[in-house]
């Protein structure tokens, strides 16, 4: 099967270095502290945050291996960025529902969790964004969809703090291809570039969210102009 056509376009019309369309809707769930519905192409994920709240019994973890792997990855990632030292004696619960899976589920889960945590007002050191990258037809492909994931080439998912460029966690699988050091470096670079692209979109969505809330709170005050682009640096 051909994944990259002669024109350089992939099956869904993207180029290798392009991510899918990212949509993010805050507050989809009412009965929680923060929630975000995130769609990356046809992958759709709903993340809810409860807390910080009183430490209770540990909630039941999913039983199957794949869900558990995603849960552990998300937990490992976010315990590093949430300022947990501010919440001694409290716990934060993150619930993720995968509504549609069309590749890049892990990445979508991390991105949705970031959005939900920001919506809940949980202090974090930085955004966290995640992107996966594969290597098919001698080309690095960003943000694989389901068909491309099934091809069995190397796939690398990586979470990044976009402001400082720090890599937090990553996961890699390759069933058919041996990954050389040079290729790995290329994949790492590509994935980080993808994370930055996703950060750009999430950043603008979050600013929009805050701007709307501020405008509503302060009514039709003409002085209440929103400065959305930082005017300094």
């Amino acid at each position: 099967m051909e994944f990259v056509q002669l024109s350089g376009l992939r099956g869904d019309g993207r180029r290798g270095n392009e991510v899918r369309k990212l949509g993010c809707h805050f507050g989809a769930v009412v009965d929680c502290d923060g929630s975000a519905m995130l769609d990356q192409g046809l992958t759709k994920v709903l993340a809810c945050v409860h807390g910080p709240r009183e430490v209770a019994q540990r909630s039941a973890r999913p039983g199957d291996r794949r869900s558990l792997a995603v849960a552990n990855f998300v937990q490992d990632t976010f315990t590093q960025v949430i300022q947990t030292e501010l919440f001694k004696g409290s716990q934060i619960d993150i619930t993720i529902h995968i509504l549609q899976a069309d590749g890049g589920v892990l990445a979508a889960c991390v991105n949705a969790t970031t959005a939900a945590l920001i919506h809940a007002g949980v202090p974090m050191v930085d955004f966290v964004t995640c992107c996966n990258v594969g290597y098919l037809d001698h080309t690095a492909l960003l943000d694989l969809n389901h068909v491309e994931e099934l091809a069995g080439g190397p796939e690398l998912s990586l979470t990044l703090l976009p402001k400082s460029g720090k890599v937090l966690t990553m996961r890699m699988a390759s069933s058919s291809v041996r990954v050389t050091e040079k290729l790995l470096q290329q994949l790492l670079d590509e994935a980080q570039a993808g994370c930055q692209l996703i950060h750009k979109v999430l950043d603008s969505k979050v600013r929009e969210l805050v701007a709307v809330a501020v405008k509503k709170r302060h009514g039709a005050d003409p002085d209440a102009e929103i400065a959305d682009a930082p005017a300094y640096q």
């Binding site: 502290d33 923060g34 807390g51 910080p52 709240r53 009183e54 300022q83 919440f87 001694k88 004696g89 409290s90 920001i118 919506h119 809940a120 007002g121 949980v122 202090p123 974090m124 050191v125 930085d126 955004f127 703090l161 976009p162 402001k163 400082s164 950043d203 979050v206 600013r207 969210l209 805050v210 701007a211 709307v212 809330a213 501020v214 509503k216 709170r217 302060h218 009514g219 039709a220 002085d223 209440a224 102009e225 929103i226 400065a227 959305d228 930082p230 005017a231 300094y232 640096q233």
Partner: protein, 364 residues
């Protein structure tokens, strides 16, 4: 450079930094997101929603040594203030903080709150206040029935369930904080205590404003407690008629006792008698108020009063659904408008009706 010279220069730098930030915040609400730098000055204090990050050696315009270390003149550490939540930058003198539009309730001492008992424990109740931890209501921080002022005995401990049990609603005041951020609350005033025969509305705590008075008698005959933790208690006002009588009496009593205090000629026996009388009077008043509360709890509220409560409740829900601040004025604005447009309480939350109500209320 002399020490005094350096101090003066430092002062200048601070002033410069403040001016720079002032320019930034002037007549615009600066929106920041997590990880975004707010300012680079070292003259600012880290408030909520921000953290200090050392400027590393590889940073662009920084030629000083490695992280956290001091400047080459050894005077101040180099650091930047970074936002940790998405929100608006606020500055009070040197304190810079970021206010997120949504977050859990983080109380202050003196806040009026409404909470739900979740656990009866050893000499204390645990109360859900919607904060990051359960609040604690000590047995010693409540009013005993009859207003008796005494040490709490083992007997009291055994009878805690007769005062509050799980799922009871209480109004209270935040009295202090424990080390890890847990709140201690008290109900040592006749205003506070168990809430009965009314309705609870829950809204995000970020929509609550601090008011001069959190116990409000709305003009529509509804009594409301606007808890700062986003819980609002509504009940019909009709039963509180006799309360006013009690309050008047108490004020009279107060003036009487002050005039007695000014009388220096009074002998000791007289004073003792006065004290006893005051104690008796106080316990009688407490008795009266408790009676009032009991009466109110048992009262069957008529349909009209219930509809008024429902209308207020839906007005508050409308405000909260639209991310608008919840205050008695805003609530009454929606309430009055819905009456004027002849909308039944039940119909207020239908999407199209809700939209027109909110739009017209904002215009007015």
């Amino acid at each position: 450079m002399s020490g005094a010279g350096r101090a003066a220069e430092d002062e200048n730098m601070l002033v410069d930094e403040e001016e720079a930030l002032d320019d930034l915040l002037q007549d615009s609400r600066l929106v920041v997101v997590p990880g975004e730098e707010i300012t680079r000055g070292s003259g600012f204090l880290r408030g909520h929603g921000t953290y200090l990050e050392a400027i590393g050696p590889d940073d662009d315009d920084d030629d000083a040594g490695p992280a956290v270390e001091q400047d080459e003149d050894g005077s101040r550490p180099r650091a930047r203030l970074v936002a940790s939540v998405a929100g608006v930058v606020l500055r009070v003198n040197r304190l810079v903080s970021v206010e997120a539009p949504r977050s859990r309730y983080s109380g202050d001492v003196g806040d009026v709150v409404v909470g739900r008992i979740v656990e009866v424990g050893n000499k204390q109740w645990k109360v859900d206040l919607g904060a990051r931890q359960l609040g604690t209501l000590q047995l010693g921080s409540i009013n005993l029935p009859g207003g008796a002022l005494r040490r709490r005995t083992l007997e009291d401990q055994l009878q805690m369930r007769q005062l509050f049990v799980e799922n009871d609603l209480v109004s209270a005041e935040v009295s202090s904080f424990y080390q890890h951020g847990g709140m201690a609350i008290h109900t040592r005033s006749m205003r506070y205590g168990k809430l009965l025969n009314g309705q609870l509305v829950t809204v995000p705590s970020s929509l609550m404003k601090r008011l001069s008075q959190h116990f409000v008698s709305l003009p529509c005959g509804v009594e409301a407690i606007f808890g700062l933790n986003g819980r609002i208690w509504l009940t019909s006002a009709a039963a509180s008629g006799s309360k006013k009588g009690v309050q008047n009496k108490s004020s009279q009593n107060a003036t009487a006792s002050t005039s007695a205090d000014s009388d220096h000629e009074m002998d000791a026996e007289d004073a003792a008698q006065q004290d006893r009388a005051a104690v008796l009077e106080r316990s009688r008043m407490t008795e009266l108020m408790e009676q009032d509360k009991r009466k109110h709890a048992e009262r069957v509220i008529d349909v009209e009063s219930r509809q008024a409560v429902a209308r207020v409740r839906n007005a508050i829900v409308l405000l909260a659904n639209n991310d608008l601040l919840v205050s008695p004025q805003a609530t009454m604005a929606i309430y009055d408008l819905s009456l004027r447009l002849d909308i039944s309480p039940m119909a207020m939350l239908a999407p199209d009706v809700a939209r027109t109500l909110v739009e017209q209320a904002i215009e007015a």
